[in-house]
């Protein structure tokens, strides 16, 4: 796995390490860019006074320092250095982007503050409201975990049953055809009415949203297993339980993971809607709350946190898939 990952990043790394083997001109440029952005934040007076200007400049200087150190020391710091060198060009771009953003909002007010918040004001949210944001992430993760777990387990079990048994397929197929494509959010009003708590309703909705794609993909995975695998296993003395657990399911796993990815995507959507409309906690609720107070910086901060959370979860699922399906070659990378 690690070899393939470095293969992919090799051309990008080449951009960062051209010239002297130790010294990286790209990283030196990145260090200069971040130092320049820090200077700009400190020196240029703001049109609207902003908090935490010094802290933001400090962070920019810290990034500049790291880039400069890696540019000079080369591969001395192992994997961290390799990562920084790989994204050298990105470091320059982000420094430039931050500078432009800073100028357009805090420095000149070309973009209307506070609808488009300045970098400082978002930093302020992280520094002053991290507790509430952290608790919101915790609530969101807990709700998502419950719903996704039940949905994935139900979908997988149902998919295997439908794919394996004609009787189950006969009864489940029409129901899945009718109910499956219905967006889980359409159940929202009914779910909040039926379930005793909005939390339970939300778990149900997220599970529902996850279960449908997992069911369909598991089913199609089981159905597309090479029949010869069964014949081989049967002549070798396999009983039906062995055929399901050791032949059908492993052969269907690539499909199952596609279903799990699709389910995770839809579960994010349902999670946010459920938190906005019913559950009084979590990142969806935080967004809603921030809008109520016209705290736009808080919304941007929450969106950023949410993006990081979803991206991390997808990455975790990819890692799990790569580990489980390491027997496959030519996998798609995340």
């Amino acid at each position: 796995m690690s070899t393939t990952a470095s293969d992919i990043s090799a051309p990008a790394a080449a951009i960062g390490s051209r010239g002297l083997p130790g010294l990286s001109p790209v990283l030196l440029a990145a260090a200069a860019a971040w130092a320049g952005t820090a200077g700009l934040i400190l020196a240029w007076p703001e049109i609207v006074p902003q908090p935490y200007g010094r802290e933001l400049a400090g962070i920019a200087l810290a990034i500049a320092a790291v880039a400069a150190v890696v540019a000079v020391t080369g591969p001395l710091f192992g994997r961290v250095a390799t990562g920084v060198r790989t994204y050298g060009a990105w470091l320059i771009a982000t420094a430039a982007l931050l500078a432009v953003w800073e100028i357009l909002t805090a420095k000149t007010g070309v973009l209307p503050v506070p609808f488009l918040s300045s970098p400082q004001s978002i930093l302020e949210v992280f520094l002053d409201d991290w507790e509430r944001l952290g608790i919101s992430v915790g609530y969101s993760l807990a709700l998502l975990a419950k719903g996704y777990f039940f949905g994935a387990v139900t979908g997988f079990t149902l998919g295997v049953a439908v794919g394996w048994s004609r009787a189950v397929s006969y009864w489940a197929h029409p129901v899945l055809r009718l109910v499956g494509p219905l967006p889980a959010t359409a159940w929202l009003p009914l779910a909040f009415f039926i379930f005793p708590t909005s939390g339970a309703a939300s778990v149900f909705l997220i599970a529902l949203a996850t279960a449908f794609p997992v069911t369909i993909l598991t089913w199609s995975g089981i159905a597309s297993v090479n029949r010869d695998f069964y014949d081989i296993a049967r002549t070798l003395g396999a009983r039906p339980s062995f055929l399901i657990l050791k032949v059908a399911i492993p052969a269907a796993l690539p499909h199952v993971f596609v279903g799990l990815f699709m389910g995770l995507g839809t579960s994010f959507a349902v999670l946010v809607v459920a938190e906005m409309l019913g559950v009084k906690a979590g990142l969806g609720w935080y967004l809603q709350w921030a809008q109520g107070w016209a705290a736009y910086a808080n919304m941007y901060a929450a969106l950023l946190v949410m993006a990081l959370m979803c991206s991390t979860l997808i990455t975790v699922l990819f890692r799990l898939r790569d580990w489980t399906l390491s027997w496959q070659k030519g996998l798609v990378r995340w």
């Binding site: 010869d228 014949d231 081989i232 296993a233 002549t235 003395g237 032949v247 492993p250 052969a251 027997w327």
Partner: protein, 268 residues
């Protein structure tokens, strides 16, 4: 078999054959194809002695492979009786193993785990782990136990498939064109290995092939089938001791005879 004993130079007293007797009596079989029955076997009858190596030769799609599936217990004949070791064939059993043209290894299992499949399915893997290593050694794949099927060449994959069959100590080995998709050099090497494996294991081997040369070089007896629905058109005894020499003029004569039965003598 006298001819088999002659090749076992290191072991003057070969163990008795452990293979099963095969009896095929008036077997007919038809598939349902788009509602209409398609007759593939038409009252086929023959017997195979325990421990013999018999080749079934015939044109493609003549029903030879169907016969192997009936013997393995994967399908059941429309009419007639298929008996192995005196008993009518019921469900598939690890004593009768079918090796397909495609190795059909399980891609998510390592070579070792693929070979261990039968023992695992029968629930005896713990007690007989050594048999897996022995089978891998037998087919010359020691050291490849942790490789995955996609890392193997065609010949190696087919050897793993053979090891997967042999690890169960089958008494009847059903080979459905096992060398059909290999390149010609690998194929020649594997033919020799196949004979060696059969001689060592003393099992009954039934090889389906449409390669005349292969049938005559490998088997003690070649049963020639006509086009579908399959009937036996000839039963040729290959009265040559092992190891055989490919340039033996007797092989050429027998090949000519077999081709004649297939209506292809003119092309030679």
């Amino acid at each position: 078999m006298v001819s088999a004993a002659a090749t076992l130079r290191t072991d003057p007293a070969p163990p008795p054959a452990t293979g099963e007797r095969i009896e095929i009596r008036d077997v007919s079989h038809a598939f349902q194809l788009k509602g209409a029955p398609l007759q593939v076997l038409d009252r086929v009858s023959f017997e195979v002695e325990p421990g013999a190596f018999v080749a079934l030769l015939g044109p493609s799609g003549c029903g030879k492979s169907t016969l192997l599936r009936l013997l393995a217990g994967l399908d059941h004949p429309s009419a007639g009786e298929v008996r192995v070791g005196g008993a009518t064939v019921g469900d598939p059993d690890p004593s009768r193993i079918l090796v397909f043209q495609d190795p059909t290894l399980f891609p998510w299992r390592t070579v070792w785990d693929n070979v261990a499949l039968g023992l695992e399915a029968q629930g005896v893997l713990k007690a007989r782990r050594k048999r897996v290593d022995e089978a891998l050694e037998l087919v010359g794949l020691t050291g490849f136990d942790k490789a995955y099927p996609h890392q193997l060449s065609g010949g190696m994959a087919q050897r793993v498939a053979l090891a997967r069959a042999l690890v169960n100590d089958p008494r009847l080995l059903l080979l459905d064109e096992p060398l059909g998709k290999l390149d010609s050099l690998t194929r020649l090497a594997m033919q020799t290995e196949l004979v060696a494996l059969w001689q060592r294991a003393r099992l009954t081997a039934l090889l389906v092939t449409h390669d005349v040369e292969e049938a005559i070089f490998l088997a003690e007896r070649v049963i020639v089938f006509g086009p579908r629905p399959a009937r036996i058109v000839a039963d040729i005894r290959v009265d040559l001791p092992y190891p055989r020499h490919r340039g033996d003029p007797r092989l050429a004569t027998l090949r000519q005879e077999a081709l004649g039965h297939l209506g292809l003598a003119a092309s030679w």
